[in-house]
């Protein structure tokens, strides 16, 4: 099958070359989600400077629409040369169903110097199939975003608290809870995100070769934890929240009991005291609570710092503070970020039938040929949309005519990162740490994705387990069950077992093992 596909692709490629040669201008149809503003001037400059004879026809879908209609559109072989996809959209299914073209021949190819410079082998490892094929072009800057708590520095000062540990964070929450009656809660959390990784040891576990895999894109808490031997060759076991301790017997100490359940019972219920009632239904704690001064802290990522700062400073006398709750990351320990599975969250793909695959890759190649080209698409026109300082850091200009573009859909790349000139030193240092390759440790499971549809039995069990999880995981992750947490965990595990979670667990272990066997170094 693969050979046939390859053959067909070669034919398509040959044909497209003939076509590109024949017509002076190729129009690329590109489907992205979200929106860009004032893009015409950037396109005009691209047309003038590139001399590629490529015209871009960008179609912007709404996010949910994009996910719903792109499989239909591509399944129907409608004109489309580049499409945004991700594991949280349809990527896994689309690749499995052979809907995307293999683009591996465009990398490490001297005819495409930009791609060669921007996409190193290690960066591409996450998308390289066992047979060397690449169906998706990863778009990301740092492999990981830094999780943190944003809080009100002005309030912390008011109560004389310096937040530098989980204890002082709790003291801050306590002070706010007792002294700020106008606030809904000290810590505002949102429905899907819940308490996230606050007070968790996910990074430390990864250092000990314990990795978490979700069935592509489910909410936090639903993942399986898989322990791998130190040599990176054997799966030692797998567990999940609610699972009996026996499943963890082979895990490296101190993770040889179910620490997930433990965290839910003790830590999450503790932190839940400081979150708002009905946090489960809160859609957007950041906008609704934090920015309006109704709560004193939220969980966030460092990439959201700028927006948070601007919004918080609109509140009288308010100042934004930021606290990275993981000790190792806060202290910027080298190698503390261990990658696992997919590090990129966003991808671009070429549908299998596209006649313009060369032109599509030429376009992306052009972006990465020079920092100037890259700046054009990421930031706009120098002097008009942004300025650079001597250190090469950018400042975005404001105005109604300013170009904006969601870089996470096209331009983000670890080798082409520009830092915002206006960040505080503390934040800038953390951003630099996050973007620095030496902060990362590669792992044996880089590039692994769980195929939840591998067999009919798995697909069936997976769907049923998802239904059970959707009922319990969210309250668990919000600490809603309080003193009943242990009992609810047991109830959850019983129902999940009836739904076939063991089938899924076995499949996770088998697939990870198969991946290790195929990619073993």
């Amino acid at each position: 099958m693969k050979k046939l596909v390859a053959l067909l692709l070669t034919l398509v490629m040959a044909l497209s070359m003939v076509l590109t040669a024949a017509s002076a201008e190729t129009e690329l149809k590109i489907y992205l989600f979200g929106e860009a503003q004032n893009m015409d001037k950037v396109l005009a400059r691209f047309y003038a400077e590139s001399g590629l004879g490529i015209k871009l026809n960008l179609v912007w879908n709404t996010g949910a629409d994009h996910r719903e209609k792109m499989p239909l559109l591509i399944g129907n072989e409608e004109p489309c040369d580049l499409v945004f996809d991700a594991y949280w959209m349809n990527l896994a299914t689309m690749i499995k169903q052979e809907m995307y073209a293999d683009i591996s021949s465009y990398f490490h190819n001297d005819a495409y110097p930009g791609l060669k410079a921007a996409f190193s082998e290690s960066y591409l490892a996450q998308v390289t199939e066992a047979d060397g094929a690449i169906y998706a072009l990863p778009i990301t800057q740092a492999p990981n975003d830094l999780q943190c708590i944003f809080y009100r520095e002005d309030l912390a000062q008011k109560y004389g608290i310096t937040i530098d540990s989980l204890e002082s964070l709790e003291a801050y929450f306590k002070a706010v809870k007792e002294n700020e009656p106008d606030m809904v809660a000290p810590l505002g959390i949102g429905g899907g995100r819940a308490l996230y990784y606050l007070d968790s040891d996910i990074m430390e576990k990864r250092l000990a070769n314990v990795f978490e895999f979700s069935g592509t894109g489910t909410a936090v808490g639903m993942e399986f934890e898989v322990a791998i031997s130190e040599d990176g060759k054997t799966v030692l076991g797998a567990g999940a929240i609610g699972a009996p301790d026996a499943y963890y017997a082979n895990f490296p100490a101190p993770y040889n009991t179910n620490t997930r359940s433990e965290r839910a019972i003790t830590k999450l219920t503790k932190w839940a005291q400081y979150t708002q009632a009905n946090s489960i239904t809160e859609e957007d704690a950041k906008n609704n609570l934090f920015f309006t001064g109704l709560c004193a802290a939220i969980e966030g990522n460092i990439s959201g710092y700028e927006t948070c700062k601007a919004e918080i400073e609109k509140i009288q006398d308010a100042k934004l503070g930021m606290f990275v709750y993981n000790d190792g990351l806060r202290n910027r320990t080298p190698g503390y970020f261990v990658t696992s599975g997919q590090t990129a969250w966003n991808f671009l793909c070429v549908p299998y039938y596209s006649q313009n695959i060369d032109a599509a890759m030429q376009f992306i190649d052009w972006i990465f040929q020079s920092p100037e080209n890259h700046d054009l698409f990421e930031l706009g026109i120098a002097g008009e949309d942004f300025t650079l300082n001597d250190a090469g850091e950018y400042t975005k200009l404001t105005g109604s005519n300013v170009y904006t573009f969601p870089g996470y859909e096209l331009t983000w790349n670890p080798n082409f990162i520009r830092t915002n000139a206006n960040l505080d030193d503390q934040v800038k240092a953390l951003v630099k740490y996050m973007n620095d390759p030496t902060s990362y440790t590669a792992s044996a499971v880089d590039g692994f994705t769980f195929d939840n549809q591998a067999t009919p039995a798995l697909a069936t069990a997976y769907a049923a387990v998802t239904a059970v999880q959707s009922e319990y995981i969210r309250p668990l992750m919000h600490g809603t069950y309080g003193a009943d947490t242990a009992a609810m965990l047991a109830e959850y595990w019983d129902k999940a077992s009836a739904a076939g979670i063991e089938t899924v667990r076995q499949a996770v272990m088998e697939q990870v093992q198969a991946f290790l066997d195929a990619h073993g170094k």
């Binding site: 979200g34 629409d65 409608e78 950041k286 906008n287 969250w345």
Partner: protein
């Protein structure tokens, strides 16, 4: 018949008193229902004229907090709203007319009792409400085989006849007294003339009702626009608000993901959502009283007979 004297004297009084009580009750109940209907709208209109920050902080109320027209200014800052108004108007007017023609043509025969296969045809139509092929084949049909992508037709033709409306109209037609047909037939009228000169004129309230249902459905339609329309100048008004709301939906789910770095603050604000909702329902509210004229002029059946 001879009535007892007491009844003749008491009845009108009692009836009048009863009428007064009934009238009061009727008016009160209607008013209560209307107030219940209106309150959320007043709240929404106020919200749309409020400042976002104050709204979220102080909660909803019947009057705008910190009055501002910012939400509307933003909405009307592009041509999009105007374009979409045109699209929605065209689809609604043209679609309703076309739908009514086809629906009435089908509904009338199904109401004629002498028609042997009317049961079968009714079943044929009803069955489509129970079973449908689903998204994949429908998409393929409309997009690939009928080539309706990016045309206004894709919002009209695939939803041309609604079985619900078809049966409704059929029932209205059935309610027309049989004598009306019979007398016409005796006068030598054929089916064409019966339909055109008798049935349709006496069915104006029914036709107005079903037209209204079609118009509302066309006006509220967005799903087909989402699937088949790419050219923003062909977006109907409802799709604008659905786009807005659906965007939030996805980001809400995705914000729980590690590393999903989308700037949530770029999402539309509550006030914008409210303002858009108000802008999209406005026109149909204005159009409704015109259609309503026909509901209240229902003495036609009697007058034709007389």
């Amino acid at each position: 018949m001879v009535c007892p004297l007491s009844e003749l004297t008491q009845n009108p009084q009692r009836r009048r008193r009863g009428d007064a009580v009934l009238d009061t009750a009727v008016h009160t109940l209607i008013l209560v229902f209307c107030v219940l209907c209106l309150i959320p709208f007043i709240v929404a209109v106020s919200a749309s004229f409020s400042s976002e920050r104050t709204l979220l902080r102080e909660g909803y109320s019947l009057l705008p907090v910190a009055f501002t027209t910012a939400a509307y200014d933003m909405l009307f800052s592009t041509r999009q709203i105007v374009d979409s108004y045109k699209v929605s108007l065209f689809v609604t007017v043209f679609g309703t007319v076309l739908s009514m023609v086809v629906t009435a043509m089908m509904a009338y025969p199904l109401s004629v009792k002498k028609l042997r296969y009317r049961g079968a045809i009714s079943f044929f139509a009803y069955f489509t409400m129970l079973f449908n092929g689903g998204l994949v084949p429908t998409y393929m049909l409309i997009s690939k085989y009928l080539g309706m992508r990016d045309t206004l037709w894709c919002m009209i033709i695939p939803v041309l006849v609604n079985p619900w409306n078809l049966f409704l109209l059929r029932n209205f037609f059935s309610a027309i007294p049989g004598e009306l047909h019979e007398s016409a037939r005796i006068d030598g009228a054929n089916d064409v003339r019966i339909l055109w000169q008798i049935i349709l004129p006496v069915s104006l309230p029914a036709l107005a009702t079903v037209s209204l249902f079609y118009a509302v459905a066309y006006w509220n339609q967005w799903f087909n626009a989402m699937l088949y329309i790419e050219d923003a100048s062909k977006f109907p008004l409802q799709y604008l608000i659905m786009k807005m709301l659906r965007n939030i939906e996805l980001l809400k789910q995705m914000s729980s993901q590690a590393g999903f770095a989308v700037d949530m603050s770029a999402l539309p604000t509550t006030t914008t959502k409210m303002a858009t909702a108000m802008v999209t329902i406005g026109p149909i509210i204005i159009a409704y009283p015109f259609a309503q004229k026909y509901f209240t002029s229902g003495l036609i059946v009697g007058s034709v007979k007389g």
